[in-house]
């Protein structure tokens, strides 16, 4: 398929049967192809670095993760852009979340990354730190990228090492989703924002006793729950290039949940393990194995699709000001893209064009542009979506400042937390041992 490979197959050999050179020439040709193929790939990777290169038809490659619903909405919004800018068309690729970042990394390594791609805070620093993402700061300053209507903390949550690496495609925050049907049927109170962690666990214990369904998933393996809890203790997940917590902090965290497990407020370790998968369909609140799950608030509508029961959502326990306006995901531009200006313009369009924002709705979280967010909230019809918008908007008034974006090595920290927490859950380690193991592993991971 590469033009470089085509002139191989015995090109000069044809007529001249007798020339003694053919074989040598052929072998040489072969060697040339072997060398040229990767070179050609490499050359494609470098592209011509002419920067803008606008004018004339442009085909922009766009890559995101999500389900079919998101694909439909995104395709519609991009089609709208093409309608307004007929010379810009899109090469759209999307897939499920699992495996998305493997694919993105492979595309980047292969010298064929998309011009415009979706990314989240788990990987933003990894990509920005390696200069894979374009610094959008100059576009922001020149006004080509309008972020004037963005909440300040949401915009700042896209900054890595002083560079604007990603623009929030939507806003969300941590949400505790509970099974409303189960609670009302049994005459149990619903959880409230602002309950303390101890109150939450006591409540979950009460639910378990009455309904035989454990009241809460044990979130000790969940970095976003640990993160909120740490912030409430005046700590953080990261501080600069260091960890923002100590062994003692994590010991307390693991011990808190050991208490909950011992009291029967949570499911058994193997069920907790299943709920630790990030897959929406495996969350215990929809599989019926627990009354609450620890998710992101904008996942409510998707969760609802997987259960017949009514769901409710509140903030994680403790002081809700520990939560922040998190970019549910960002749009980033590949630094080597030939069509940077167009790509940035598309981001601008997806965030600020009233029609596009109306089309996209809250699929990627609350719209980042707060004026348009208000409009979308008014017109939302899906009850689950309405509810998540309402809760998020309420919480938004209590949000504290954003933490820094997770640093390089975050994927390992997340995996180590799961391992350590599960060690404690299966009773193979005490909270103190698990905490020690976790912090040691983290230090190695981010070193």
């Amino acid at each position: 398929m590469h033009p470089a490979t085509s002139p191989t197959a015995g090109a000069p050999a044809g007529r001249e049967h007798r020339t003694p050179l053919t074989r040598r020439r052929f072998v040489r040709g072969l060697a040339a192809v072997a060398l040229a193929a990767p070179l050609a790939l490499g050359a494609a990777a470098c592209g011509d670095d002419s920067g803008g290169g606008d004018g004339g038809p442009v085909k922009l490659s766009v890559f995101w993760w999500g389900g079919e619903a998101r694909a439909k909405l995104t395709e519609d919004a991009l089609a709208l852009y093409t309608k307004k800018h007929p010379d810009v068309t899109f090469e759209k690729t999307w897939q499920a979340n699992q495996g998305y970042f493997d694919k993105l990394a492979t595309l980047t390594a292969g010298g064929n990354p998309p011009d415009l791609f979706q990314i989240d805070d788990n990987y933003l620093a990894e990509y920005a730190g390696r200069s894979t993402t374009l610094d959008l700061g100059s576009y922001r300053d020149s006004g080509k990228l309008d972020v004037s209507k963005f909440p300040k903390s949401l915009l700042e949550y896209g900054v890595v090492d002083g560079k604007l690496a990603g623009v929030a495609a939507g806003e969300n925050t941590q949400g505790l989703v509970y099974n409303k049907t189960l609670l009302t049927k049994n005459g149990l109170p619903e959880p409230r924002t602002g309950m303390s962690w101890e109150e939450h666990i006591a409540w979950a214990e009460q639910v378990a006793k009455k309904t035989k369904v454990p009241g809460t998933q044990d979130p000790s393996a969940d970095y976003k729950a640990l993160w909120v809890w740490l912030r409430q203790q005046g700590k953080d997940l990261y501080k600069g290039k260091e960890l923002g917590f100590t062994v003692e902090d994590v010991t307390k965290w693991f011990a808190l949940w050991k208490g909950a497990r011992d009291a029967g407020a949570t499911p058994t370790a193997d069920v907790i393990h299943q709920g630790n998968a990030t897959d929406i369909t495996k969350q215990l609140v929809v599989t019926g194995k627990a009354a609450t799950s620890w998710v992101w608030a904008n996942q409510m509508p998707d969760l609802k699709k997987n259960t017949k029961d009514e769901l409710g959502v509140v903030a994680y326990p403790g002081d809700p000001s520990a939560q922040w306006a998190r970019a549910s995901m960002y749009w980033s531009v590949f630094k080597g893209s030939k069509h940077r200006d167009v790509a940035v313009d598309v981001i601008n369009f997806l965030n600020n064009d009233p029609e596009a924002v109306a089309l996209l709705g809250t699929d990627r979280g609350l719209p980042s542009n707060t004026d348009l967010r208000a409009k979308v909230s008014e017109t939302a019809t899906d009850p689950a979506m309405k509810q998540s918008i309402q809760v998020e908007s309420e919480l938004a008034q209590k949000f504290g400042p954003s933490p820094q974006v997770p640093i390089k090595g975050h994927s390992k920290v997340k995996a180590e937390l799961t391992k350590a927490a599960e060690n404690a859950q299966y009773g193979r380690a005490t909270p103190a041992q698990a905490a020690e193991q976790f912090v040691t592993a983290c230090k190695a991971a981010i070193a």
Binding site: T22, R23, E126, R130, D270, S411, K419, Y426, A444
Partner: protein, 326 residues
């Protein structure tokens, strides 16, 4: 693919006898050589592009801090740092080695035993034997497929079919795949269950054993066990050897089922962290492709070493009869 390889002694290939070097035929030979290369070219290009070049590249990368995202031109040479880290500073590496060895040491012998046992049963002529051969071979056709792994995980979770079956006898099952003490064992059972491929090869081997040997042994008063020990096993030893080497390599490379069972994490609590999975996580999740390359090369050398050990011990127990007879 293993099936196409005929079992038994490999015919001696290589430089056979003096080549007909006709004077003046040089040009024709060149022409023939060229034609040969042209016919070989799909394979040659594949070998170069898909195997040789990336392999050598990965050898180089194993001495660098390559992280996938950084262009190759900017990677830093780090010497033996990746290898040093693997052996001295990464406890989960040794854990993965342990998991993989446990898996291979248990699953491979049991799989071969199952394959040989069933092959012996099916090596008779009774009605419907062909159907049974087909049925036993079927699981192997599914190979290391993702679909099969998904079915397996669902069969062996707490509410799975296996526990429902146990419940018939009043036994309360475990959450097998979600239990760190049993997840790896579940994978072993899956591997053993797919004994069809070595079984077919054993069957082919059994067909090669001359019936006169059995008759002679029977005349000499050897019972069934004695005939198996003294005739079947030695005659079958080249096939056993072949299957052992192949299945060991295969066992070490187990990946798909572990990946599916653990959502790519090696969990619960690293109990299914097979070597290849650890390598995959290092390369694609943690973006440490240089480190992953180093792991891959150590893996390659380890497998080569184990295979070499097999070959060097083989002459003590592998019995090739054809040499003398034929």
């Amino acid at each position: 693919m293993a099936l196409t390889t005929a079992p038994g002694p490999t015919p001696r290939t290589g430089p056979v006898g003096p080549r007909p070097t006709r004077r003046g035929a040089g040009r024709t030979r060149l022409g023939e050589g060229l034609a040969g290369y042209v016919f070989l070219s799909p394979w040659l290009i594949g070998l170069m592009g898909i195997t040789a070049v990336p392999m050598l590249l990965s050898l180089w990368l194993s001495f660098t801090d390559y992280d996938i995202l950084t262009p190759l031109s900017e990677v830093r040479w780090v010497g033996l740092a990746n290898y040093e880290r693997m052996f001295t500073a990464d406890p989960s590496y040794w854990h993965a080695v342990r998991v993989t060895l446990t898996f291979a040491l248990v699953a491979v012998p049991l799989k071969l035993a199952a394959a040989l046992g069933v092959a012996l049963l099916l090596n008779r002529t009774w009605r419907g034997v062909g159907l049974f051969r087909g049925l036993f071979y079927l699981p192997s056709l599914l190979g290391g497929s993702v679909a099969l792994a998904i079915v397996w995980v669902n069969m062996f979770n707490r509410d799975g079919a296996f526990n429902s079956f146990l419940a018939l006898f009043g036994i309360e099952g475990l959450p097998w795949v979600a239990d760190p003490d049993w997840a790896l064992e579940t994978l072993m059972v899956l591997a053993i269950w797919q004994f069809g491929a070595p079984m077919v090869i054993f069957l082919a081997g059994l067909k090669q054993v001359p019936t006169e040997l059995y008759e002679a042994a029977a005349v000499d008063g050897a019972g069934a066990w004695r005939r198996f020990r003294a005739v079947t096993l030695p005659m079958l030893s080249p096939v056993i050897f072949f299957n052992l080497v192949l299945e060991t390599i295969h066992g070490f490379q187990g990946f798909t089922a572990a990946f599916v069972l653990s959502n790519g994490t090696g969990g619960p609590v690293d109990s299914t962290l097979m070597y290849t999975l650890k390598l995959y996580i290092a390369g694609f999740t943690d973006l440490e492709m240089g480190y992953a390359s180093a792991m891959a090369w150590v893996f390659l050398l380890a497998i080569a070493l184990i295979t070499a050990v097999f070959f060097s011990t083989g002459r003590f127990w592998v019995h090739y009869s054809d040499g003398e007879d034929a």
